[in-house]
């Protein structure tokens, strides 16, 4: 079970409190009635289903109730970061995992043990 950082509550909470809500950064067009069929298809139906880094919406349903965005790796399931709805995509080069995922290896402790 994942821990997800809610950018509104500003804390990590259990995955049980959240619901995924589809791809992020797809703004609803303001000129709905003027859209071509192709544009509407692209807006409403077509999604990338990315393997790797993806931007998606989550809702802290059983918490504050807010929708927010997340950058997540679909291979490792790891959340790289979460951010408030309406904010632009974060700069990927500065992205660090949302959890402090420094991994100690045996080699790191071995010197300690001696």
């Amino acid at each position: 079970m994942l821990l997800i950082y809610c950018p509104y509550c500003e804390e990590e909470r259990s995955e049980l409190e959240f619901r995924q809500a589809g791809d992020a950064h797809i703004a609803r067009p303001t000129n709905m009635t003027e859209m071509t069929d192709e544009d509407f298809e692209a807006f409403f139906f077509l999604r990338d289903n990315v393997k790797g880094l993806t931007f998606e919406r989550w809702r802290h349903l059983n918490g504050c109730g807010r929708f927010f965005n997340a950058a997540r790796d679909t291979v490792s399931d790891k959340f790289l970061t979460t951010y408030k709805a309406g904010l632009p995509r974060p700069d990927l080069s500065t992205l660090r995992p949302a959890t402090e995922a420094t991994v100690e290896t045996y080699e790191a402790t071995e010197s300690n043990a001696k």
């Binding site: 079970m1 994942l2 821990l3 809500a21 703004a27 609803r28 303001t30 709905m32 009635t33 859209m35 069929d37 509407f40 409403f44 919406r57 809702r59 349903l61 109730g65 807010r66 929708f67 490792s76 399931d77 709805a85 309406g86 959890t99 995922a101 420094t102 991994v103 100690e104 290896t105 045996y106 790191a108 402790t109 071995e110 300690n112 043990a113 001696k114």
Partner: protein, 997 residues
């Protein structure tokens, strides 16, 4: 006496504390603290089961969780029968009933053993190849037969009467395993003040110290040190010590599942105690100290009862005080087995010989063996064994062939070396790395915040393990900000350091294709089967595993996987890491469904929602139906009435007099704010600007694709306040839908949404006498038709409590919906109910409600629509604002397919025979005589007997339906074809005058 093979003075159990248990009906003596395995061995019982495929006699192989063979059934009563329990981990309790499995008629004489003679026909892949034809026979003949013949224990047929509990826990450091490594790490972590949980699957801590009597730590006997350390840890406020607790699954972000067996070892458990407890632990850091598992040797007929792991024999002797035989042989490729021989020899047991497949055993153990006078055959192999229900001899030959010598034995201890238990590490998604020198897979690249220590990390030496563990405990606590007040040091001493080990087939497994040299005891997989799989073209270990079923039994190949892999690699002529290791998956050992399901069963499986008036309705005789999580009054039968009669009476009464209906489950959302109307304009297809406070409107909500999502009546309470109702089933998703748009697409709108579903009790009063019923109860509202017309809402009082009174109707009759705060619901229901009955009306349930609305052609979203229906398809086009420039779904409605001709449209159906009621879901065709498969042009969505119309009525989605009114269509059923006439959707009071009465 607790068994003839109990050695006086040996072991750690108390001779005075005895227990009796039954094995296949026969009574045996045991000691408290015995496992079923140790107690049976104490009584000289080696034969405990039959193998899965060949029904070969099998005994006890191990003394721990890795046991592949000794699976038993434990029965407490008719409901509590646990199959496939490993005898090596189940404690004996007084009066326990144990049964053997997979044998008929008895363990010693098993008819299924004929499979052993037919073994040449049962090679790997036999089932796949043999039962291919005819295709149908697999499902109906072969599979049921094979399943009946093979298989393990039998599950109980009655409901489980035990209960299980669940607990969430958080800690800084979780230590999995409480052997020397785990205890040292926990000690170091605990001293820093970090919150520590340490668990171990065994009843007592100690791990390998159970059998290795030679160990001392800081001068204290190792096992005693372990118990004292655990006792000291348990006294600390920041430490939780959990024995009998298996870490079975390692999930994302250091989330670990533990299974604590609370009462499994007790004869008469306190009924208040759960049988097992599920711990869901979130740890900042995890220390994996799961040790290593000894492997058996792979040679001909290595599965006879009495052949067991050397370390197991040591455990039975040094912990349980049980000698596993009187004349014991040893076959090994590793030094560790020598120590088993030494311990047994010192306890007075004859060691027939130590057969060592290596040319160069460890010098220290060799010297010790000689000084104890034990014959060691260096460079020899056991090439066969004898004995029917227990091993009676081993045939020994020099490596490379030559004549063999038969040695009489009654037990044979084997060891091919140790497999580090990397299960938890691998489950954490860490990548294992192969160490060619020691032929082991060890933790390689870590994926989570954890650390492996001790034997599971490939550390063999005792002192090195202690130092590594103390350092790990401190380091992992540092991560949470704790530091050690002082450096801990412990001095561990043991007798021998071990060398050696091998993986794969030993001498005597033969290259030939008939020898049964078992790798996987539980699934009866032999060395030859792996070779066959490779010959047949399986080159990936994943394919070999599935073709042979190696490692796929309930023990998940704890003994067999490495042997299978080594044989596959040898046959393929490849390096072991090139063949690959299968993934370790949870659970580490079997976990009962009870533990996983926990409280979520029976009434607690899913929440039950009841309306405030539930108890009153129950008292009125209501029969309830499930609508999602809600219990809704379905109908109210009176004495002598069946459902049909009750529903007919309720329908008739509502139209003739009046009825009262509990509509509390309707979803209710309070939409408030200066931009509330503008928000609703975007969410609904209708316009809301024009709606005056005090008036209501029926609204349709679409998804962006243009299909109907939900509907309901919305009342405007004030300029900036709307009372929105939704369908019962749609309440939660409509709320989510609105929140989504408000938060993310229309955040500029100043609006608040509040779910009020459970805050209002809703009592619908419908029928010609509805006004007369409520009039005396209502204060402050003029109920006259002129002052309070259909589709209006007023605030006032009913029965002295505040109400939002709606004039609306889902029956086509004059109707009111009385909303009162939920707590007042029962009192108001009782008062209105009394008035209703006094005037000749009655309460009606959801079934009558469905019929009454269908008589008027009112749709139910989700029943008459299915996510592919547009407002126009449902004849609700009038509710779509033509002048609006935007609402959710406005563009979707204009998609070519949604405006095309021939769409399925909602229409009425009248059966030619008025007495016939159609079936909901039935398909509709234009021509019943067309060849199969017929072209289906629609289906029935609602169908009822209408007492008010005196005939059956139905609604249906029919392609081009509105253009087919008056035409005859057909509904083919299995027994007959029903002719129907297409009609409009209103069956009763077509003019609609009654609603304004």
């Amino acid at each position: 006496m607790s068994g003839a093979n109990r050695i006086p003075g040996a072991g750690r159990l108390t001779p005075a504390k005895t227990a009796r248990f039954f094995f296949d009906g026969k009574s045996y003596a045991a000691l408290e603290g015995d496992t079923v395995a140790s107690a049976l061995l104490a009584n000289g019982v080696h034969l405990v089961g039959r193998s899965f495929k060949y029904h070969r006699p099998r005994g006890i192989v191990s003394a721990g969780a890795e046991e592949p063979n000794a699976l038993i059934g434990v029965e407490r009563d008719a409901a509590r029968k646990q199959p496939n329990v490993r005898a090596t981990v189940q404690d004996v309790f007084d009066g326990m009933k144990v049964i053997s499995q997979n044998r008929w008629p008895s363990l010693a004489f098993d008819v299924g053993a004929v499979n052993n003679l037919l073994a040449p026909f049962f090679a790997a892949g036999f089932y796949y190849k043999t039962f291919m034809w005819p295709k149908q026979a697999w499902k109906h003949v072969y599979e049921p037969q094979i399943r009946a013949a093979a298989g393990l224990g039998v599950s109980p047929t009655e409901d489980d009467t035990d209960h299980y509990s669940s607990r969430y826990a958080h800690c800084d450091v979780l230590v999995i395993g409480a052997g020397v490594a785990g205890l040292s790490a926990a000690l170091a972590a605990a001293k820093t003040g970090a919150r520590v949980i340490i668990c171990d699957e065994q009843p007592e801590v100690g791990g390998a110290l159970h059998y290795d009597k030679s160990v001392t730590i800081d001068g204290q006997d190792g096992y005693s040190w372990a118990q004292a350390t655990a006792a000291n840890l348990a006294k600390m406020d920041n430490v939780t010590v959990l024995p009998r607790t298996t870490a079975f699954g390692y999930y994302a972000q250091n989330f670990v599942g533990l299974n604590e067996r609370v009462t499994e070892h007790l004869a008469k458990p306190d009924k208040k105690l759960p049988r097992e407890r599920l711990w869901q632990v979130r740890a900042k850091r995890v220390i994996i100290a799961t040790g290593a598992i000894e492997r058996h040797m792979v040679f001909a007929n290595n599965d006879r009862p009495g052949i067991m792991l050397a370390s197991a024999a040591r455990t039975f002797l040094n912990h349980f005080g049980v000698a596993v035989g009187k004349k014991v042989g040893v076959y090994t490729a590793n030094d560790s087995a020598y120590e088993a021989a030494f311990d047994l020899k010192r306890a007075g047991i004859t060691i027939a010989a130590i057969v060592d497949s290596r040319e160069q055993p460890g010098e220290a153990v060799l010297a010790e063996a000689r000084s104890l006078g034990i014959e060691v055959m260096v460079g020899y192999g056991v090439v066969d064994t004898g004995g029917k229900l227990r091993v009676s001899s081993m045939s020994v030959a020099r490596n490379g062939g030559g004549s063999s010598r038969k040695i009489a034995i009654d037990a044979l201890l084997v060891s091919a070396g140790w497999t580090p238990s990397v299960h938890m590490f691998s489950q954490s998604r860490g990548k294992v790395a192969y160490d060619a020198e020691t032929q082991r897979f060890l933790p390689g690249t870590y994926a989570q915040d954890c650390l492996s220590i001790g034997a599971c990390n490939g550390t063999n030496d005792l002192q090195a393990t202690i130092e590594e563990s103390l350092a790990a405990g401190e380091l992992m606590s540092n991560a949470s900000g704790y530091t050690a007040p002082e450096k801990l040091a412990l001095q561990g001493v043991n007798a021998f350091s071990w060398t050696g080990g091998m993986a794969g087939a030993a001498e005597g497994a033969g290259p030939d294709t008939t020898v049964k040299a078992f790798i996987d005891f539980q699934n009866d997989v032999c060395a030859k089967d792996i070779r066959l799989a490779v010959r047949e073209g399986m080159h990936s270990i994943e394919h070999i595993k599935r073709f042979t079923t190696n490692g796929m039994a309930t023990d998940q190949g704890k003994l067999s996987n490495i042997h299978g892999l080594a044989i596959a690699a040898e046959t393929l002529g490849r390096e072991i890491p090139k063949v690959g290791l299968t993934t370790f998956r949870a659970p580490y050992t079997p976990v009962t469904f009870g533990t996983l399901i926990n409280h979520s069963r029976g009434e607690l499986f899913d929440p039950t929602r009841k309306t405030p008036m539930h108890a009153l309705e129950e008292a009125q005789g209501a029969v309830f139906e499930d609508v999602g999580q809600w219990k809704r009054a379905w109908y109210y039968p009176r004495a002598g009435e069946d459902m049909h009669q009750a529903v007919n009476r309720e329908c008739k009464t509502v139209r003739d007099i009046a009825g009262i209906f509990d509509a509390s489950t309707l979803g209710k959302i309070e939409v408030v704010g200066p931009d509330a109307a503008q928000f609703l304009n975007l969410i609904y297809t209708n316009s809301w600007d024009t709606l005056k406070p005090g008036r209501c409107r029926y609204g349709i909500m679409l998804r962006e694709d243009g299909f109907v999502y939900d509907d309901g009546v919305v009342g405007r309470m004030a300029e900036d306040r709307f009372h929105v109702t939704t369908t019962t089933g749609g309440a939660a998703r409509v709320m989510n839908h609105m929140e989504d748009y408000l938060q993310t697409e229309f955040p500029h709108l100043n609006v608040w949404l509040t779910s009020a579903t459970e805050q209002w009790a809703v009592i619908a009063v419908q029928g010609p006498k509805a006004r007369e019923i409520i009039e005396p109860l209502v204060e402050g509202i003029d109920l006259s038709n002129e002052a309070f017309p259909h589709m209006s809402v007023r605030e006032g009082k009913v029965c002295g409590v505040p109400t939002r009174l709606f004039r609306m109707s889902f029956t086509g009759e004059t109707g009111f919906e009385v909303n009162v705060p939920a707590d007042f619901g029962p009192a108001v229901w009782a008062a209105i109910s009394e008035r209703t009955e006094a005037l000749g009306g009655c309460a009606y349930g959801t079934e009558a409600m469905h019929i009454l609305r269908a008589e008027k052609g009112y749709i139910i979203v989700g029943q008459d629509t299915d996510g592919t229906v547009t407002p126009d398809d449902a004849s609700l086009g009038w509710a779509v604002g033509k002048k609006k420039t935007d609402f959710v779904g406005i563009r979707g409605l204009r998609r070519p397919d949604l405006v095309a001709d021939g769409r399925k449209q909602l229409v009425g159906l009248l059966t030619k025979d008025p007495a016939v009621v159609l079936e909901e879901g039935a398909q509709i065709v234009a021509n019943p005589n067309q060849p199969l498969p017929m072209t289906m042009i629609g289906h029935v969505t609602s169908a009822y007997w209408s007492e008010n119309c005196g005939r059956s009525i139905a609604l249906a989605l029919v392609a081009g339906g509105k253009g087919k009114i008056g035409q005859t269509l057909y509904v083919p059923m299995p027994d007959k074809t029903i002719a129907v006439e297409v009609s409009d959707m209103v069956f009763f009071d077509k003019e609609g005058g009654r609603i304004n009465g």
